[in-house]
């Protein structure tokens, strides 16, 4: 079997002392920046690029890759502990993970995230090893109409993130899309909703929005009843998962892994969608969906697995086609070029050491992460027993530097403050911020693909239904939306009849 030769080659490369060392440095640094809110993998990798000059290409890429998937691990930590999703992929984790933490089950939530991620990462790495080239070809079949339909599906899924009124959730999604459209229009360069401020020319920064709506709002809410509670969590329960927990997470982890592995291949937002899609599926198949949003462990297990699987498979287009699927991959391509390797479809054949070495290192890196993260859980959980009046100013400090460091742009800091106030108003009005955030992420892509599809089809909207893949996804979206809307309509009607 050729694949075993390849894997043997990969492990022989990855298991050298030097490469193990850089893999460890990568995942450690990744965990650190993932935990620190705001500071994401992009600026970190950019800062480290000069260091990679002196390293062999394989070691450089192994370290940079480690930072990327390490950050995915670490990102869920702050989302769960203090409701601070630093990355789009951990928005979903924050919903139920934070509720679990408030019930004293932060340990279980963190363990679920770590174990789910490890399982998903291992499976996705295996898929990457076996199916990378054919999977990359599938990704190429996705044209603008398919992406548009996928985004519609994603939006419908995001409505299900809310546990309250469906109409309000829909309104939040639409508002999120509008906010997401701020900045320069891709097609004409026209600035939209930027108030003629140059610093806003690229729109509202995601990290500023997320930290304002989630992090600041949570702090303000906790100040409401400060006189009754001094610490965030009164009682911290066991750190590990119970047998019952294990049973509950197996199926969500499996489904999340499959979903994430597939969506991760698609450049342009696939990996991001996978965690929302997973949450929405888990909520739908669950026997007690009303638990979602109130600390359902499935709502952590599925999305966390999906996003980590997606993080691994998003390497596929980069490694096999030389096409970056997100800004981090673009940076890796930059790192390769600096190393004198021209990324492209030939890398697999011309640089087998590099290709298989990276893949093998991912598995090793995932293993290191789980070993690194499980013992850390105890420390994280103790953090919650720190008196809240000491904890929250520190969180504010982290939020400020985190948001500022993304673009070195003070307007991002002001935006965070503004969204803190606005988000608090929304929460008081029973409007949930999660769908808004997802609308914000998906909206601009939705518009971009819609307009691109219309341009390429010369204004013929039938492309969305005549192309089979697109038609299937749209059909699922319509079906899902009906299923979401029906109960509320029925409920309204029942209420009306009662009266």
């Amino acid at each position: 079997m050729e694949i075993f030769d390849h894997l043997a080659l990969g492990f022989s490369v990855a298991f050298t002392f030097q490469n193990l060392f850089y893999c460890f440095i990568g995942v450690l640094l990744g965990t650190l920046i993932g935990v620190l809110p705001g500071l994401g993998p992009v600026p970190t990798i950019a800062m480290l690029l000069p260091i990679t000059f002196g390293l062999p290409p394989v070691s450089a890429l192994i370290m940079l890759a480690g930072i990327y998937y390490g950050a995915q691990y670490g990102g869920s930590t702050t989302a769960i502990l203090i409701n601070l999703p630093g990355e789009s992929s951990s928005v979903v984790t924050a919903i139920d993970g934070y509720q679990m933490a408030r019930q004293g089950r932060a340990g279980a939530a963190l363990a679920t995230a770590a174990l789910g991620s490890f399982f998903a990462g291992s499976v996705a790495t295996f898929l990457l090893a076996v199916f990378a080239p054919p999977l990359a070809e599938i990704a190429l079949k996705f044209g603008p109409p398919e992406y548009f339909s996928l985004m519609v599906l994603g939006l419908v899924a995001s409505v299900s993130l809310a546990s309250g009124s469906v109409i309000k959730a829909l309104a939040m999604v639409v508002l999120g899309i509008l906010l997401g459209l701020s900045g320069q229009d891709v097609y004409t360069g026209t600035p939209r909703f930027t108030f003629d401020i140059v610093e806003l020319a690229d729109g509202i920064e995601f990290v500023a929005l997320a930290m304002g709506l989630f992090g600041l709002v949570e702090i303000i809410r906790n100040l409401e009843d400060e006189h009754t509670r001094t610490v965030m969590v009164q009682k911290v329960q066991g750190l590990m998962l119970s047998k019952d927990d294990f049973k509950r997470i197996i199926a969500p982890v499996l489904r999340g892994t499959i979903l994430g592995s597939f969506l991760g291949i698609l450049p342009g937002g696939g990996a991001m969608l996978s965690s929302f899609a997973s949450y929405s599926i888990e909520k739908r198949v669950s026997k007690n969906p009303q638990q979602f949003g109130k600390g359902a462990i499935e709502g952590v297990a599925g999305p966390e697995s999906a996003n980590n699987a997606g993080a691994q498979t998003s390497f596929i287009p980069m490694l096999t086609l030389g096409i970056p699927s997100n800004p981090v991959m673009a940076l890796m391509i930059g790192a390769l070029i600096i190393q004198g390797i021209v990324p492209g479809p030939n890398v697999v054949n011309e640089q087998p050491n590099l290709f298989w070495g990276i893949i093998a290192s991912m598995w090793i890196g995932n293993f290191m992460l789980v070993v690194l993260n499980l013992p850390l859980i105890g420390i994280w959980v103790r953090l919650l027993t720190v008196p809240y009046h000491i904890l929250f100013p520190l969180i504010i400090g982290f939020c400020c530097i985190g948001v500022y460091s993304v673009n070195n742009n003070v307007y991002d800091v002001y935006a965070m403050a503004a969204f803190g106030v606005f988000g608090y108003l929304l929460v008081k009005l029973d409007c949930e911020p999660a769908p808004l955030l997802l609308g914000f992420i998906i909206g601009p892509m939705l518009e971009e693909y819609l307009r691109r599809a219309m341009l390429i089809s010369r204004g013929d909207p039938s492309v969305f239904v005549t192309r089979p893949l697109s038609a299937v996804m749209l059909a699922i979206a319509v079906l899902a939306l009906t299923l979401v809307l029906l109960p509320s309509v029925r409920k309204k009607r029942e209420e009306a009849f009662k009266e």
């Binding site: 001094t230 009046h389 929250f392 009005l429």
Partner: protein, 161 residues
């Protein structure tokens, strides 16, 4: 609240959504709309503003009660907004933004932590100062020394660069 209002929250939400829809439409009123074939930058936002306002109207209507059975939401009465906390938290973030360029990361961080700490009832001058100092030291160690962020600890106003 009048007899017709069943849920003041929903009424306010509805009005807010309608206002936001109108506001965004007004902000984008000079954007070219184009046609479906070649959509202009104003096409998609305008459609969304319409949808937002329509959803707002639905929420508004559900908040009104035409049946005359005026029974207001219970929890609507109990909104206790922590005005002081809200103001101080927001102020601390804005101060950070104002200070980080001219004064540098150190003073900006210290001010932000100190001001936000004042939002708590348990705030004391000494405690706030200690927290600010700890956070400044931590930020210096982790962000500047550890991660090498290109941020000066002291800004140009304080002799840095």
């Amino acid at each position: 609240m009048g007899r017709f209002v069943r849920s003041p929250k929903d009424v306010v939400t509805g009005l807010l959504l309608i206002f936001l829809g109108a506001w965004f439409a007004w902000l984008g009123s000079d954007l070219p709309i184009g046609r479906a074939i070649r959509m202009g930058p104003g096409y998609f936002p305008l459609v969304l503003c319409g949808i937002l306002a329509a959803l707002g109207l639905i929420v508004l209507l559900t908040g009104l009660d035409f049946g005359g059975d005026a029974e207001a939401d219970e929890d609507a009465r109990q909104i206790a907004i922590p005005w002081q906390g809200l103001a101080l938290i927001t102020l601390s973030v804005v101060v950070f933004g104002l200070a980080v360029r001219p004064l540098g990361l150190g003073p900006a961080m210290g001010l932000a932590v100190f001001i936000s700490a004042a939002a708590s009832r348990r705030f004391s001058l000494k405690g706030g100062a200690i927290m600010a100092a700890v956070m400044v030291a931590f930020a210096w160690a982790v962000f500047i020394k550890g991660l090498g962020l290109p941020l000066p600890m002291l800004g140009p106003w304080l002799g840095g660069y």
